[in-house]
């Protein structure tokens, strides 16, 4: 199998699916001629033309709003938001229309579309090119939220998302767009939405992570094993809504110790929901507090971003702490 990176996996999924399904339209800022500022849509404009790969005006409410319109008319639009930090002008479209159209119309209308956006820190992007605002979307009933961590899952989950009848926020961890490589089959395959993946088996501590943090969690697990002989189980959540609570609870039942890792600020981050699910369903299995290793409750800083992002030592410290209970 060819080895590719995450941005190539996105590109491959889009290209292959656009060949199969001519109702797919890609739209966004600089997605056409330029191929996207991260090159995720590279080559699509040349292959599919400007009707299917549209460089739009600079207005996210227009991008997502018109995509919703195309979707309810029967097309299969895939809007790109250049950085997740720029999605807020479209927040009203997302909360008001995208999430609610099916419900509010009594099922008469629905919007089948995938909003793609690179997210997260690690590229020295400061406040506005680093945000992880997945929690907002998970709190918006009607949306599904998908976040891959590997090239394989990126392609498989993106294909599933494109075929899913519900609106999906598909967040791509841009920090590892190129850094993480892996084997990805050419051609069609899907990864189901709503199923977590056991990225590493272990019996002592359960670490829940997604996106770029999955890899930090994996490194911390290896480090903890090397240093303390602790066996961490690392769960790659893959989709936050729907959340694979079965996988979470199964792991907690096994280990009794929990560390949750995400980049977003701590307060009301998605880690809180994971924690609350565990505290609701499996508290009797817990051997100690539920720990969260997250971004801090500040805007995302520039110079100090490497201290802001959860690091291997920070995750390790949490592992050591929970092992002491």
């Amino acid at each position: 199998m060819p080895t590719i990176n995450i941005v190539q996996a996105v590109n491959q999924a889009l290209r292959e699916e656009m060949r199969r399904d001519d109702r797919i339209v890609v739209l966004g800022e600089d997605v056409g001629k330029d191929g996207g500022v991260f090159r995720a849509t590279e080559g699509l404009y040349d292959e599919f033309g400007e009707d299917r790969v549209m460089d739009t005006p600079l207005a996210e409410a227009g991008i997502i709003g018109t995509a919703i319109g195309m979707a309810i008319y029967g097309l299969n639009p895939i809007p790109e938001i250049q950085f997740l930090d720029f999605i807020y002008p479209a927040f009203d479209q997302i909360v008001t229309n995208l999430a609610k159209l099916r419900y509010r119309s009594g099922g008469q209308y629905s919007c089948h579309l995938v909003v793609r956006a690179p997210y997260g820190g690690g590229i020295k992007g400061g406040h506005y090119h680093s945000q992880s605002s997945e929690a907002y979307f998970t709190h918006t009933a009607g949306l599904k939220v998908v976040i891959p961590a590997t090239p394989y899952d990126t392609k498989g989950l993106l294909l599933s998302s494109i075929r899913d009848p519900d609106p999906i926020i598909f967040l791509e961890p841009k920090r590892i767009y190129r850094a993480v490589k892996g084997e990805v089959p050419d051609g069609e395959f899907t990864v189901p939405i709503g199923k977590a993946r056991v990225a590493r088996e272990g019996s002592d501590v359960s670490i829940f992570a997604y996106g770029a943090m999955l890899h930090v969690a994996m490194q911390a697990a290896e480090a903890a094993k090397a240093k303390n002989g602790v066996e961490c189980e690392v769960i790659d959540l893959r989709t936050l809504v729907p959340l694979d609570t079965d996988a979470i609870i199964a792991s907690v039942q096994k280990t009794g110790r929990v560390v949750i890792v995400h980049e977003a600020p701590k307060t009301s981050g998605f880690g809180a929901e994971i924690s609350a699910q565990i505290a609701e369903r499996a508290i009797e299995y817990l051997k100690g507090p539920i720990l969260r290793v997250t971004g801090y409750d500040t805007p995302f800083p520039y110079t100090l971003e490497e201290y802001y992002l959860p690091s291997v030592p920070r995750v390790q410290a949490a592992i050591e702490k929970i092992m002491q209970y």
Partner: protein, 355 residues
Amino acid sequence: MGEQLTSQKRFKGLETDLSEADLKKIYRAMLVTRLFDTKSMNLQRQGRIGFYVPCSGQEAAQIGSAFALRPDDWTFPTYRDVGVAVLRGVEISKLFAHLMGNSDDEMLGKQMPSHWGYKEVNFVSVASPIATHLPVATGVAMAMKLEKTGTVVVAYHGDGATSEGEFHAAYNFAGVYKAPIVFICENNGWAISVPVARQTVSETLAAKAEAYGFEGVRIDGNDVLTVYEATKKAVEKARSGGGPTMIECLTYRMGPHSTSDDPSRYRTREEFELWQRRDPVERLRRTLVEAGLWDDSAEVKLRSEIEGEITRAIEKEEKVAMPSPRTMFEGVYSTELKSLSEQRENSVLDKVSKE
């Protein structure tokens, strides 16, 4: 609709290519809308429905424009566009079912009253937040263009809506993509208590269209035939690839903003009376009478026919049960998420207590 006829000025004092049947169809729709509106306000006052957004005074703008469309054209209404629904053929009982939020409601009781949507007549489900439907409407028009369907979209909005950022995005995308869309701005002078003069200092609202590279026209929105003609022209242009048009219809809401509003706090009696004299329904009636197409007995007959329909519709719908509590969990996603099934299964379906 809008079947073409050859001659003009066939009726006394009337410049139109509409047939007698067309004119009567339009008048009927206007009267149905007016009577429905009056009745719905009363139902709310009587506590039989929870809320209502009246449209009296704006029937010409709504029905004149909608009459210029084909059934396969799409409309994006606001909460106030009852006339469009009526003209497009939504049964009155369905409208009441929605106002009551009962099990017959096409929205399944999920939305508050006046947030209509009828896919069967391409009348797309309303959201309360102002102007949010406009980018979506443009998107539908863009899709129609890509699919070369030859259909068009008509999107309705108020004067207040022109201030929102989503209006701007919608109009700009429509211009850039030359989307087959006609924007009908029902400028009724007020956004709740805020007059147009505080909404914008643009000379006209129609002038705003130029900022997006297409034509805006301002017309007498209380003259249904003027509205029809202007829309027909714009629709033809859109259909033949000429891109969008904005039509600013000068009109007036004769009632309150909604059943929660008291316009005497911000509008003068004189202003109301001035516009009452411009009542669009009465105006068409007079025109038809003058043209020899209508008389008092026809009027009495039509009114009692419509009132009968309305009464029967209400009677019917008031007997329909409310949706069962469990339906609340349905329809969020294409298939129910496990988390939501759990919430339903664990739910204690007791009503909240009232303070």
